[in-house]
């Protein structure tokens, strides 16, 4: 299918003054946005219109006005509804699993509902459950699963038909911090390893910053902000490095710090955070920094325990109170663009 306009082609999701009005509430108010491939976070308070937007994008609920396209297909066109839903996965916010069947049986059934032939449905189910981290327990009834395992089954059923795009509605709901991190890591992998674009909703901005390439903030059905995560955080991206001690270097952290200093690279300590004494912070300046860290650590013969990007949380960017939010956002954005030199 040739695409006439960018509205139809370039973006995974595109909306143009999309509105949804219920008799008493306006759930979406002239929302215009473009979402490209990658992991996109859709952030808003409860009732901000996130679920309404997903319903419209799935072609299940007509918009009051405006238009929307998913994967280049117009959602208002009745013929494209099934076509969109064949190429899209959806993980609902609420519990949706029957407790009396096993994860395997359930996901196979859902794969067939997506149009996969029986054999393919079984193969894809086994693959997908393994990818989301369910092993032997997948043969047991879902009723006995922990919340984290149930969330994985819900994710698996959204991925089993190998969609091009998945909508994940509050996937971290009800998870403990570790489960939350696992789920966010899994979501990241859905894009990096599986090549599937993701639209993930949350009311917590902080947890999306590690996961998303792009964040869209809506409030009261209006678009508050849509920008790349790196816009907020790139300028302050630091690498946290942790290394082991060896016989040659009884204090590996110090040795590393010295080695960096020799090369004229500035390091910071981890501040007052727990375990900060064993963490070396380096400002990341692209891929060379990673190579350099690797070389330095290898030269010293140390073991690299951890190397992760540490960013300022975008939550800080969005935190201001309702009234002044937009002004402050503008101010913060201005600071960000002018700010890199200060951060270094």
């Amino acid at each position: 299918m040739a695409c006439a306009t960018s509205f139809e082609c370039v973006n995974v999701i595109a909306t143009e003054s999309l509105s949804k009005r219920f008799p008493r509430v306006t759930a979406l108010d002239r929302l215009t946005m473009d979402i490209g491939p990658g992991v996109t976070g859709l952030v808003g308070a409860n009732g901000a219109g996130k679920s309404t937007l997903i319903k419209i994008l799935l072609g299940l609920s007509p918009a009051s006005e405006g238009r929307a396209a998913v994967l280049g297909l117009d959602v208002a066109d009745p013929a494209s509804g099934p076509a969109i839903r064949e190429r899209v996965g959806y993980m609902p916010e609420h519990d949706c699993l029957p407790p009396d069947v096993s994860a395997t049986e359930f996901v196979v059934h859902m794969a067939r509902m997506s149009g996969l032939p029986p054999t393919a449905a079984r193969e894809r189910t086994a693959d997908t459950l393994r990818h989301v981290g369910l092993y032997e327990e997948r043969y047991r009834p879902i009723g006995g699963y922990s919340t984290g395992m149930k969330q994985r089954v819900k994710l698996a059923q959204a991925l089993v038909h190998d969609p091009q795009l998945v909508f994940l509605d509050e996937p971290t709901n009800g998870l403990d911090p570790v489960g939350r991190d696992d789920m966010l890591g899994l979501i990241r992998r859905v894009h990096t390893d599986f090549g599937i674009s993701v639209l993930v909703t949350s009311h917590l901005l902080g947890e999306l910053e590690r996961t998303c390439d792009h964040v869209v903030v809506i409030d009261g059905g209006k678009l508050l902000r849509s920008s790349s995560t790196s816009d907020f955080t790139q300028s302050t991206a630091t690498l946290a490095i942790e290394v082991t001690d060896t016989d040659a270097h009884p204090d590996g952290t110090r040795a590393l710090r010295d080695a960096f200093a020799e090369r004229g690279i500035e390091t910071h300590t981890g501040g007052e955070l727990p375990g900060a004494g064993h963490t070396v912070l380096v400002t990341a300046q692209g891929d060379e920094t990673y190579d350099m860290v690797r070389d330095v650590v290898a030269d010293l013969g140390l073991g690299l325990v951890r190397m992760e990007q540490r960013r300022h949380h975008i939550a800080e960017v969005f935190r201001p109170a309702d009234g002044q939010r937009e002004q402050q956002l503008a101010a913060v954005a201005a600071q960000q663009t002018g700010g890199p030199s200060d951060a270094r």
Binding site: R85, G89, D95, S114, G115, A120, G195, Q309
Partner: protein, 350 residues
Amino acid sequence: MPAENMPAENMSAEPASTRHTPAQDTPAQPTPAQPTPAQPTLTQRPPAQPMAAQSTPADRASTRIHNIGYRHYDGPRLGRAYARRSLFAQSLRGAYGLGRSAKSKVLPMLLFVVMCVPALIIVAVAVATKAHSLPLDYTRYAILLQAVIGLYVAAQAPQAVSRDLRFKSIPLYFSRPIERVDYVVAKFAAMTSALFILTAAPLIVLYVGSLLAKLDFGEQTKGFAQGLVSVALLSLLFAGIGLVVSAVTPRRGFGIAAVIAVLTISYGAVSTVQAIAHVRDGASAVPWLGLFSPITLIDGVQTAFLGATSSFPGADGPSTGQGVVYLLVVLALIVGSYGLLMRRYRKVGL
């Protein structure tokens, strides 16, 4: 693109022994916590992780990395009609507990046996005694065993619909190519087929038995055909009523009770009132009273059109004129239940 990923892989290959256990799920991605420096932002989908990790020189014997990366699905997607058929098959099997726990097989299978045993006995007696006719019409069989059919509907109709409502699985269906009409049609057809199997199986036993007993072929075939039409109608009607009643409530227990009330208790009530009317003022009101319970409706239709003898008091079935009313009511109920189901599922879409 692979060149871009190289640093990340080399880096993590060294500390792999501290980070990876062989049991870890996706060793394909070297360190899950570590973001890849530059994410590919291509319009086309980036390829699944190649089998690179296995061939890295740093991959030592102590750290076996199984790289079975994500594989895309390029096979056929069979669309709506296939999904509808699959849902039908799954629901039909489910109505007999197939593909479900052993516990849920017990009741439907037991009821199926209970439906067939009397037919087997009748046939055995007919063959043994070399009878000239079966002691029972084909059309009469379902009416006599209506309590068993009612029990089956009460047990299986809530299972067919209220599970999806109760566990809120409906949105998972409607976020797929299948639509509301497909869901309703598949569930309705599955329930009807399950009931038809339940009610037609004993008729087949009777028919085969009557042929073995060398009864008149033409007469038996005609009776058998009339019986099949009658139970087909009964299956549609009972399935419709059973599904509508159980789709109202996500609670299975309420569904069972409500279905029993509508099917069986209404029959008891109508029969009682008919008997009283028969004794008190003769015949006139009896046929009209039969309109108020599903089983008497079927009885009336088959009395008027399918050569059955009525089980109404005094064998006082409806005339042909009244029979038309019966038939219209039955068809209206079937269409009405379909409409009500469609309405019900409009609300629970997502």
